[in-house]
């Protein structure tokens, strides 16, 4: 990641970290999250599957707006590298904003806007997407554990130099463990993008993730909603 790319991500991280305590002191339910994500990125542009892996480090800040609305802002950054010959190392920077509406304690609708940038030594590709989906939570009755299932469609995906994908979706499954005001979580996530064939072969992309998250919550007790 170049110096010029890192700056906005750092700004978002700083805003996230500053946001949670400020809200907490105002007696608003707020949370701050640190996350480490193992990323497997797979791309096939017609010449075979190109895989790269790496770790992304992220931060989130979330605040409840009333009893049903929650706003989450997040950022992550890291690098991906491939083992195969010819696979270029890439830096990844990502920032996003998510609005969640709780319909019941076990169901919420979510809308998110995400901007992601892949940067190599010679090029930079920007992804911008809008996701609409739902999340269901399964609270354990006997222990402070919660299972989470989430799915979203991405009706808007804009990728520099590429057409709009035919199929764009994200999904995630995870389990959260709460202890006091700290919540630990493990999530499996998957993003799938199938681009249309424009003559030079069909481009397929897929991002699989395993994320470990730690969330600190202040204010009234409410299960934290991740944007992972």
């Amino acid at each position: 990641m170049t110096r010029r790319d890192r700056t906005p991500v750092e700004w978002v991280v700083l805003v996230c970290l500053a946001f949670a305590p400020a809200a907490g002191t105002a007696q608003v339910t707020a949370s701050g999250t640190a996350a480490v994500t193992l990323v497997e990125h797979q791309v096939d542009i017609g010449y075979g599957v190109e895989e790269s892996r790496g770790l992304l480090f992220g931060a989130e800040g979330a605040v409840d707006l009333g009893s049903r609305l929650a706003l989450t802002i997040r950022a992550a950054g890291g690098s991906l590298s491939g083992e195969a010959t010819g696979v270029e190392d890439r830096n990844v920077g990502e920032a996003g904003l998510q609005l969640s509406v709780a319909l019941a304690h076990w169901l919420a609708f979510q809308g998110a806007v995400t901007s992601r940038t892949y940067t190599t030594a010679i090029a930079r590709q920007r992804w911008t997407s809008v996701a609409i989906g739902a999340e269901t939570g399964l609270d354990f009755a006997t222990s402070p554990v919660r299972g989470v299932l989430r799915g979203s469609l991405l009706p808007v995906v804009s990728v520099s130099g590429l057409p709009r994908p035919d199929v764009a979706l994200t999904t995630a499954v995870g389990i959260e463990y709460r202890g006091g005001s700290v919540t630990g979580a493990l999530y499996y996530g998957l993003e799938r993008y199938d681009f249309p064939n424009v003559g030079a072969g069909r481009r397929l992309e897929q991002v699989s993730t395993l994320t470990v998250r730690f969330t600190v919550q202040r204010g009234a007790r409410r299960p934290p909603r991740s944007s992972q």
Partner: protein, 349 residues
């Protein structure tokens, strides 16, 4: 039509009674004017007509007492002492509160009237006058009378409670005002209901006794009281013991998450990429399965839910505290209760 005729009958009857009382009143007024003009014999003639048993018109007790009094006074003026004494006693017997105005009657009449009082023994209590009494600062007052010195006991009795409140017990001569603070002997506020004021007297001059009763009602005027909070229902309390089914439910939830992770890793990816990332889903699925199994096993052994027990205790304590506050506020309101006293039907001898 029947209603109309009944109404007319009542109106006619009422007008006849009023007319009869007016006849008596007119004659009484005429007799008093003759008395003032010192036409005593003519006045006596009219007054005797009024008190005669053959007097055909309606006569009230007050008119009767007035006639007897003026008869006594008239006869006293013309020196017929025994008859005067007799009529004065007649007036006193009918209304022990009867008295002569020293500015309107002569000393001889007053002396004779006093003799009549000594020869006649009666006690009476004035009908209770409606009043609002704040027991903290005010007193209700009852007026009693004895015609001459007597041992008197004045008691107040709630009709529905077997308690007597002694307001006065001693020697009395003439009229007396007896105060009441609105409390029972044990200091509690008098209950709402019907009360009897009983006056019992024993003459100290002629060895006779007499009694009188009047009735009144007491109602409480209290600011509206707050209701206390009801008992917490089961729906308002958390389960304090874990049910065996909860463990099974958690096991199921853990397995749902585990299966969900595997399904997502199999269904959502593009088949072109194969199942290379399934290991990540297995990691999450394994964690969820372990969580579900652990919850299931724990639920089999740990039955009590300390957090819920503590929360329920907190809710019960909050309710008790709220009720204590309500009870305190209600007690303050009860302390502000005002007694509303109103005359009631029924009089005693």
């Amino acid at each position: 039509m029947r209603h109309l005729s009944l109404g007319l009958t009542l109106v006619v009857a009422a007008s006849q009674v009023a007319s009869a009382q007016t006849e008596t009143g007119d004659l009484l007024h005429q007799a008093e004017q003759l008395y003032e003009q010192l036409a005593i014999e003519r006045a006596v003639t009219l007054l005797r007509q009024i008190v005669s048993t053959s007097w055909p018109h309606e006569i009230t007790k007050e008119q009767q007492v007035e006639a007897y009094t003026y008869l006594g006074a008239s006869l006293a003026l013309i020196g017929v002492r025994d008859s005067a004494l007799l009529y004065f006693r007649g007036a006193i017997e009918r209304d022990p509160f009867t008295d002569l105005d020293p500015e309107r009657f002569t000393p001889a009449q007053l002396t004779l009237f006093q003799q009549a009082r000594h020869l006649t023994f009666a006690v009476a209590a004035r009908p209770v006058v409606g009043a609002r009494v704040d027991p903290r600062t005010q007193r209700a007052t009852f007026t009693i009378v004895t015609t001459h010195p007597a041992s008197v006991r004045v008691e107040l009795r709630p009709v529905e409670v077997n308690t007597a409140i002694v307001l006065f017990n001693g020697v009395n001569d003439g009229m007396r005002e007896v105060p009441w603070d609105g409390l029972l002997p044990d200091g509690r506020l008098a209950p709402a209901g019907r009360f009897e004021l009983a006056v019992v007297g024993q003459s100290q001059l002629i060895g006779r006794s007499d009694s009188a009763r009047v009735y009144f009602t007491v109602t409480h005027e209290t600011p509206p009281l707050e209701d206390t909070l009801p008992e917490l229902t089961p729906a308002q309390l958390l389960p304090e013991r874990r049910q065996a089914s909860a463990g099974r439910g958690d096991l199921l939830k853990g397995l749902v998450v585990a299966v969900g992770a595997l399904v997502v890793s199999n269904v959502a990816p593009n088949a072109h990429f194969g199942r290379g990332t399934q290991a990540l889903a297995i990691a999450v699925g394994g964690a969820a399965s372990i969580s579900g199994v652990t919850a299931f096993l724990r639920a089999r052994h740990l039955r009590d839910l300390p957090a819920n027990i503590a929360e329920n205790s907190r809710r019960r304590a909050a309710r008790a505290s709220a009720n204590a506050s309500i009870a305190r506020r209600n007690a303050e309101k009860v302390a502000q209760t005002v007694l509303v006293i109103a005359p009631a039907a029924g009089v005693g001898p």
